[in-house]
Symmetry: C2
Subunit: 263 residues, 2 copies
């Protein structure tokens, strides 16, 4: 059963918040962690792991290992893949005609079956109680319809699953919020982030697929494709927004949101 | 231009040979290194990197980073991807209808565009002068015909390439050579390894696709699928065998072979 959804940022500032907004955001992330402390597994969708032009990936490697920090912010650790659930998701997505590959590394089983994690996974995971997980990698070259459909199929699998599972979407939003940032200041970043928070807080996530292509591109986000998967999965049951927050302490926008299943 | 081909093992014993056969094998590996010391780039096909059921992979990540040793035998180092050649190979294979994905990690460009290496790449690379490379991952779930075709398309790309490129096939053979090994002793390992050396030394690589499925499976090898790619690539020009050797100091068979382009 899909117990709920956490939209979580992966920017270093949430680890040691230096302003009030970021502190509030970190509180939301901690609440996501507490709320999902009783689930059996996570499904984690991250834009900073394997990146393929036109295929999504489901990691089957048994051991998920901290590897690549951002700006030297090490978050050591190892996690276990929920291999049974990962295999099920891969198989059902494949049968549904989705462009998806299974990802393993070195060996198919055992201690040498390992997969590296980046800050894209490690920062959300640092707010979550350690549990087995299924790591999924979205793709920007796949159509919006396909990403939503992938999410629907994922929602179906989780709906039939006896285990309680939380879906975690790792996502940062506009990256052009500061003259001093690597991408400078672009108005679309502000526009996108404002709109995303309106869709979240106004229960209007269904409008995501209608966002103009140009806005998404110019806003320099990594959130959009994972959130389309989230939308698909959320269609399979009713969820209510428990809390949300937004902060932009540096050059990129970060959002946290927690939805829990109704009833 | 495809300047030549090196078939290279990835077993720790070649790093510190303890018997005469393994020493001779290590000499062949060193000769491969010397012979290819003037090429511009390598294309390296490895069975112990990303493993996908039904897709081959071409790594586009810019930085290839030592990550996973076997039995603790660390071989530190970083290599650069020949990104231009990698993109060309991925594009042409894709256009030829091959089941292939491009593999990147974390970021599409720059210092955070990284990909992990295992012993499967690190041991062959430790005998080769440091140069840019293209890492390709084969797949066991793809038909023999498709693997040979993938090799032919690869051969076409390299044939039109101005750079001098060496193709390196990382491969170990039967893994059932010892009662004390993890897979015990199986007669097919001996049979497969004997046959492979006959095909190599008798200029009969074209017979590879005819090997019985059952023999390949029972022999417990990781060489077969990469060697089918090698066969395809070798069809695009004439090559002569310069040297070869075989050793089996522990439970798995290792072969080295060097082919150079004729004329």
């Amino acid at each position: 059963m899909l117990a709920g959804i956490g939209l979580m940022p992966h920017g270093n500032p949430v680890l040691e918040p230096e302003d009030e907004e970021t502190r509030k955001l970190a509180e939301v992330l901690k609440e996501i962690g507490r709320t999902f402390s009783d689930v059996d597994s996570y499904v984690l969708v991250s834009p900073h792991n394997a990146r393929m032009s036109d295929h999504l990936g489901v990691v089957l490697a048994e051991n998920l290992v901290s590897w690549l920090p951002f700006e030297g912010k090490e978050i050591p650790g190892e996690w276990k893949t929920d291999r049974g659930l990962a295999e099920k998701i891969y198989r059902v997505e494949k049968e549904a005609g989705m462009p998806v590959v299974d990802l393993n590394f070195a060996s198919l089983r055992g201690e040498y079956s390992r997969w590296p994690l980046s800050w894209g996974e490690l920062i959300p995971l640092s707010f979550l109680k350690k549990k087995p997980l299924v790591l999924i990698t979205p793709s920007r070259g796949v159509s919006r319809e396909t990403l939503v459909k992938f999410g629907e199929v994922l929602g179906d699998v989780l709906d039939m699953e006896e285990k309680k599972v939380a879906l975690i979407i790792s996502a940062d939003h506009g990256h052009g919020h500061s003259e001093n940032g690597p991408y400078g200041k672009v108005k679309e970043s502000e526009e996108y982030d404002k709109l995303i928070m309106e869709l979240i807080n106004g229960n209007r996530i269904e409008e995501l697929p209608k966002l103009p292509e140009e806005l998404v591109r110019k806003a320099l986000v990594d959130s959009y494709w994972g959130m389309l998967i989230m939308l698909g999965a959320m269609r399979k049951a009713e969820f209510e927004l428990r809390t949300s927050a937004y902060a932009c302490p540096t050059y990129f926008g970060m959002a946290g949101a927690l939805w829990v299943r109704k009833g």
